[in-house]
């Protein structure tokens, strides 16, 4: 067993454990913190794959910004214990989980094509320059469309908040 493999197993095991905690905790804040830990561990996994930029962005955006908003909302609403879910939710949740499982079947059985080994990790791989280059040349249209979509979402939120009062 090589050293990267051991690192991977530790990180993967921890992130699976924490993501299970997210689901099985009764306390909402504990769940949220377990999710933060999961996202952080996934970021470390990115670092071991030489994708420093993606790893850092994972922490910055998900662990550092989105989860803070989650916690903010949880603290404002302060739900003590989650009330029991109705049967409909269980059925819908199970269906969604099954759907996801089917998505994974080709990956797990290896029929999705060859899973590439360690990528060509030269100095510029995953660097901010490279990411920006592809983001603003090859993918400039999807990038701009995504930003417009976010803008629409923001304006929608503002409109909804105004109408409430």
């Amino acid at each position: 067993m090589t050293t990267p493999m051991i690192f991977f197993l530790i990180l993967a095991g921890l992130s699976v454990a924490f993501s299970l905690l997210v689901v099985f905790q009764r306390n909402v804040v504990h769940s949220a913190m377990a999710l933060v830990a999961t996202l952080f561990l996934i970021a470390v996994l990115f670092l071991t794959l030489d994708a420093v930029m993606v790893g850092i962005l994972q922490i910055l955006v998900y662990a550092g910004a989105i989860m803070v908003l989650f916690l903010f909302v949880i603290m404002l609403l302060n739900p003590e214990v989650l009330e029991g879910r109705s049967v409909v939710w269980w059925v819908l949740g199970s269906l969604a989980a099954l759907l996801l499982l089917f998505e994974f079947v080709p990956l797990l059985t290896g029929t999705a094509g060859p899973v590439s080994g360690p990528g060509p990790a030269d100095g510029s791989f995953g660097s901010p320059e490279m990411l920006a280059q592809s983001l603003f040349s090859d993918f400039v249209l999807p990038f701009e469309v995504a930003s417009v979509l976010l803008l629409v979402a923001i304006i929608g939120a503002v409109v909804l908040a105004k109408r409430e009062s």
């Binding site: 306390n27 804040v29 504990h30 913190m33 933060v36 420093v52 930029m53 850092i56 962005l57 922490i59 910055l60 662990a63 550092g64 910004a65 803070v68 908003l69 916690l71 903010f72 603290m75 404002l76 660097s127 901010p128």
Partner: protein, 361 residues
């Protein structure tokens, strides 16, 4: 291999040691400074065997001993686990952030070139922002786990304030990144050694004065100190998010705040005031614009650089303490208005103006 690892460990320990010590010393400077500003004598009660002469040393020893030996109180209805974890979460980010801040140029020891920076990441400044974005958790979780109305209020205020000012902080740095064209802090520090019109050091402040004001304001807001100390606001919500903390855990919140000051100062120095650069000091000595040169040995140059970095950091630490004892606290709506309606648009305008200037140049 072993030597390389040893050098990295030594650099990490050195930076950790310096930041922690400076944080402790700042705790004393803050009291002495406040006493100076309020025209009274401060922090002179700590005496060891009747010897009170060295106020600094005595306070540095007495304060932690006092706090560490106090009872560690956890509210009965609070969350034991998260109440204990929160101070660690508050203490961790400012300490690891300093890893990418360079405190000197390259030190040559024999054949070996040692980059005086703990970690040279090509994402440099993004790493700092990602770590800074994690520092909210200490406050939010600490506030929630205490099960106290005042601390919860402080936590909500703190998270709102820190999210708001993070955006302004990130955007204000954009201009600097555009001017120097890199995210690496060591590169930015090196680029500031050049001269404009062969006499003015190319420090960030001369290119981006607006960005400096915005960044400094946002940085003070991120350290949650007066005039932005809404999350703790003693006169309104007792002590805010750490009202239920005592002993060693309170010490961690307290020291974390000072470590944040040190890190913020290091960042301001590196981005806007040349980092470890001494004006006109090149790798082989001084080259003054009027033609005079003064050659220095390598070790002297490196020592001058590290010394200059330390002096600049100390200056900005002192400036923040001065600010804290000079200004009154903002109201909550004022904090939000300043963050969203003034700093954010100004930062965006600054980015636009910088882009136009760079293209037109």
């Amino acid at each position: 291999m072993m030597i390389d690892l040893g050098i990295i460990a030594a650099k990490a320990l050195l930076v950790l040691f310096m930041v922690l010590n400076l944080a402790g010393i700042l705790g004393w400077i803050e009291r002495k400074g406040s006493a100076l500003i309020q025209d009274r004598i401060g922090a002179n009660r700590a005496s060891i065997f009747g010897f009170a002469g060295m106020g600094l040393v005595n306070t540095l020893i007495a304060d932690p001993i006092k706090l560490l030996t106090k009872e560690d109180f956890i509210p009965p209805k609070g969350d034991r686990l998260l109440h204990t974890l929160a101070p660690c979460m508050a203490f961790f980010p400012p300490l690891v952030t300093f890893a990418v801040i360079p405190f000197g140029d390259v030190l040559m020891l024999g054949e070996r070139a040692i980059n005086l920076q703990v970690a040279n990441l090509n994402v440099g400044i993004l790493y700092i922002f990602s770590m800074a974005s994690l520092s909210v958790y200490g406050i939010v979780i600490g506030a929630w786990a205490s099960n106290n109305k005042f601390s919860l209020l402080g936590g909500v205020r703190g998270s709102a304030q820190m999210i708001s000012y993070e955006i302004a902080m990130g955007l204000s740095v954009m201009g600097i990144l555009m001017v120097y064209g890199t995210l690496e802090l060591q590169e930015i520090a090196r680029a500031q050694g050049e001269l404009l019109w062969s006499w003015l050091p190319a420090w960030g402040i001369f290119f981006q004065p607006v960005a400096f004001l915005l960044f400094f304001t946002a940085a003070v807001a991120e350290t949650k100190r007066i005039p932005f100390d809404l999350p703790e606001a003693e006169s309104e919500i007792v002590a805010g998010y750490h009202v239920e903390y005592s002993g060693g855990k309170f010490l961690m919140f307290f020291a974390g705040e000072f470590a944040e000051i040190v890190t913020a100062s290091g960042l301001i120095t590196t981005l806007f005031f040349g980092g470890w650069q001494v004006p006109f000091l090149m790798r082989d000595g001084f080259h003054f614009p009027w033609g005079a040169t003064l050659f220095l040995p390598h070790l002297a140059v490196v020592l001058l650089q590290v010394g200059a970095f330390t002096v600049k950091v100390l200056f900005f630490c002192w400036l923040q303490i001065l600010l804290r004892w000079s200004l009154p606290r903002f109201r909550y709506d004022q904090v939000m208005r300043l963050g969203w309606k003034m700093l954010l648009p100004l930062a965006l305008l600054n980015v636009m103006a910088t882009a136009i200037l760079i293209i037109a140049w």
